[in-house]
Amino acid sequence: MFRSALDIGCGHGFLTRDLPATKIIGVDISNKAIEQAKKLSSTTKRMVSYQQGDLFSLGTLFKADQFDLAVITGVLYPQYIGQANTLAYYHIDRVLKPGGILVSVHIDDWYTAKFPYLMIKQYFYNYLTYMHRLEIYTK
């Protein structure tokens, strides 16, 4: 069990609610998604909260070294973040504690990132007509 987890690009929070952490925060660029996530999580007894914000505002939303688990799903695509992978690494690195775990799940066809951490596990699996690349890193 992790102490605190951050779900980046949490959408409706379908993953956020079930993350193995005592305290969980989900962020998403869409206000509507955040509203929906809050509604859907209202019955859960766990400490889950949601905040609207984009990847590049993590710097203003959170203090440094705040999370020991970070999850990022379907965010790091050029159609969303242009040519700015390195800034994404910076922002996530800032909030992730040393020794923390990072999980990245993306459609392989559009994903051009690779975090500057040691990859400890990697999975590929089919997702709709695409293939998902799931990576687990340790900081």
Partner: protein, 455 residues
């Protein structure tokens, strides 16, 4: 050297926008220099660099400032007074952008930025004859001056232009002034700057990565991807197929096709063995820095960033080696081609590993090796572990999927071309007529239907 930026952003709609990833690379390269404020800039020191932004746009706060902070660099912000918080609609043809607000400028100062002056309204100063007007343009309103007590000492001429009169006034009012191309490198009242573009490089050394494969095709995709996804990309990637009998050739050629500027593919017709292949490849790629990546391994994505800077910083260092399970100089170290040449390359040996022999000879010749304190290689176990084989097959499968889609798109492009239609008509007139006539008829009928509906 004084660098001039305008906008830093994830996208680059014109030459004035440097993408975040290219900006990152440039900052990483600057680690071999000393980045200083203009106040500390020594014109005679070629190792000093000043980073300047003109505008100043709010994207500098969002996208540039966090990275400047990461690298711990000071920077100068040349503000045009009238533009604060406004947009760039006057800038015809440029993609929309907003100038930083007072609040944002304050934040930038907190992050290490220093406010300097770019006039009130950004006029061409050499065309103003009224000296009073010039003085007014060069005077800084108290509201802005108060934002940064350490700043407001330097001027950047709008459009890079000035004349002797403007220079005289600027000299009285400022510690120094900046131009871009109309000044010089030693005139404190008109210093030149380098306009930084996406492909501007501060590093003068080229970097090559060689990926040799002998029947490691199933691992190759992931090895190549780990180089393509580096935070700082190499200048060249050379995939060498030592006469493999597997799909190494197919994968190598496909990557060379996909990235013609970056990836080269070479196949040995006859198996040459490691030593010959290594020596040939280093001479073939001919970059200042060079390293090998075993086709069955992967680089961590900051391998090049961390290793190249070690060689940049000290010309006496020939080898930058990273941590592995044990501390030793291993085959995947980044080294200087000059030292390789001097040491006579790889020499076959029965006593010790040939890469070790090469590095020993370099050191005996007076070169040094420096450790990069980071685990930058991901060794992958294969053959023993079934799980890994499955993973690589998936990566391989996806590679072929991409190839397939590219081929399908190409084919449909060809089939919709006039040339194809004419060829079809010529070769099989009956079939073609039947095919195209029915298409044409459907089109005509739908047009008529459309017309009738409108009536």
């Amino acid at each position: 050297m004084i660098l001039m930026y305008h906008k830093v952003h994830p996208d680059s709609p014109s030459m004035w926008w440097v993408t975040v990833d290219q900006f990152y690379r440039q900052l990483s390269e600057l680690q071999a220099k000393t980045v200083v404020y203009l106040d500390d800039y020594d014109l005679k020191n070629p190792d000093q660099v000043v980073i300047t932004f003109d505008g100043v746009y709010d994207n500098v706060l969002y996208y540039a400032a966090p990275l400047l902070k990461k690298f711990g660099y000071p920077f100068e912000l040349f503000i045009t007074g009238d533009y604060v918080e406004k947009n760039n609609r006057f800038d015809v043809g440029e993609a929309p952008a907003t100038f930083a607000s007072i609040q944002q400028l304050t934040e930038l100062v907190k992050l290490g930025g220093r406010l300097q002056w770019h006039t009130r309204s950004h006029p061409k100063l050499d065309q103003i004859t009224d000296l009073g007007m010039i003085k007014k343009e060069l005077s800084i309103p108290a509201k802005l001056k108060n934002l940064d007590p350490k700043g407001c000492k330097w001027l950047a001429y709008p459009h890079s232009v000035f004349n002797s009169e403007t220079k005289k006034i600027a000299h009285q009012m400022f510690k120094g002034s900046l131009s871009v191309i109309h000044g010089s490198d030693d005139d404190l009242d008109a210093l030149n700057r380098v306009t930084v573009l996406n492909d501007t490089s501060i590093r003068t050394s080229s970097i090559g990565v060689i990926i040799p494969s002998y029947n490691y095709g199933s691992f190759l995709v992931e090895a190549v991807e780990s180089v393509l996804r580096q935070t700082v990309k190499p200048t060249k990637i050379l995939i060498v197929d030592d006469a493999s009998t597997d799909n190494t050739q197919e994968i190598g050629r496909a990557y060379a096709r996909r990235y013609p500027e970056l990836v080269q593919f070479h196949r040995n017709q006859i198996n040459q063995g490691i030593i010959k292949t290594f020596n040939q490849s280093v001479n073939h790629i001919n970059t200042n820095y060079v390293c090998f990546l075993g086709a069955d391994n992967r680089f961590k994505s900051d391998y090049i960033e961390k290793c190249a800077i070690v060689l940049d910083q000290d010309p006496a260092v020939a080898i930058a080696y990273t941590d592995t399970e044990v501390n030793f100089i291993h085959g995947s170290s980044l080294y200087r081609k000059a030292a390789f040449d001097e040491a006579g390359g790889y020499i076959p040996s029965k006593k010790r590993a040939e890469d070790h022999g090469l590095f020993m000879r370099m050191i005996e010749m007076g070169w040094t090796a420096k450790r990069v304190p980071d685990l930058l290689l991901e060794y992958r176990q294969h053959s023993k572990s079934q799980a890994n084989t499955v993973l690589n097959s998936f990566a391989e499968l996806n590679f072929y999927k991409k190839e397939y889609y590219t081929a399908v798109t190409e084919l449909s492009k060809i089939k919709s071309s006039k040339f194809w239609k004419l060829l079809y008509l010529y070769k099989e007139p009956k079939k073609a007529l039947k095919h195209y006539l029915s298409l044409l008829l459907t089109k005509v009928v739908s047009k008529i239907n459309h017309q009738i509906q409108r009536l």
